[in-house]
């Protein structure tokens, strides 16, 4: 249990990268990028976890109960929402690529020249 969440982090990263490398559709590639980004959320929250602690909200528990680290939660929180907007930008680029080249296959897109 000491290192198992980090093994899961590496597994998700590897699986996502495999999807990106062997993808035949630009939108499939973008979703695999989302999976790779989600591995970092698991890593952040796994680093900040304290065994036997509560969530860092003190309106119903006393102020000095042990709580998990709030800084990594703040990082992961803004990360999740900003990632969605950046994904939307990538999808807009995919639409643009489709309009220009007529195909969404990344291995075809490499060989097209003008």
């Amino acid at each position: 249990m000491e290192v198992f969440p980090f093994v899961v982090v590496v597994w998700i990263l590897g699986v996502g990268l495999y999807g990106i490398v062997t993808s035949r559709h630009l939108v499939h590639q973008i979703v695999c990028l989302i999976v790779v980004q989600s591995s970092t959320y698991v890593l952040l929250l796994g680093v900040g976890y304290v065994t036997g602690a509560v969530a860092p909200y003190f309106f119903d528990v006393k102020v000095h109960t042990p709580a998990v680290d709030p800084v990594v939660q703040a990082l992961a929180l803004t990360d999740v929402v900003v990632e969605a907007a950046v994904t939307a930008l990538l999808l807009a680029f995919a639409i643009q690529a489709y309009k220009r080249f007529g195909t969404l296959d990344p291995q075809e897109l490499v060989s097209l020249k003008g």
Binding site: M1, V15, C32, L45, Y49, A88, I95
Partner: protein, 102 residues
């Protein structure tokens, strides 16, 4: 004030992790981690983007459950709204744009 709080918490049956034995919490976290790893594999191995959007929605839900098991309710809310709702909508709209031209 603390007496009223204790009474409310008994009435609402609020359970803090102190009342859950640590072995049970560990087991829950291990199960959810394994499910998350399996769901990530499922998302990547689904090759058609339309089906992958649905798989991404399920993956977002499992991730939200895992964040809840790691005592992070704020991140759970964000991941639920973004990963299970907003991202599949964006993907479906992009696919509708791309598919109609074929």
């Amino acid at each position: 004030m603390s007496g009223r709080l204790a009474l409310t918490s008994h009435l609402l049956a609020v359970v803090t992790p102190f009342s859950v034995p640590p072995a049970l919490m560990d087991a829950l976290q291990i199960v959810i981690l394994v499910l998350v790893a399996g769901a990530a594999t499922m998302v990547v191995l689904t090759r058609q983007p339309a089906r992958q959007a649905i798989a991404l929605s399920a993956y977002g839900l499992l991730l939200a459950l895992m964040f809840l098991a790691l005592q992070a309710p704020d991140v759970t809310l964000s991941e639920l709204t973004v990963g299970a709702v907003a991202l599949p909508i964006l993907l479906m709209l992009t696919l509708a744009k791309v598919r109609k031209r074929e």
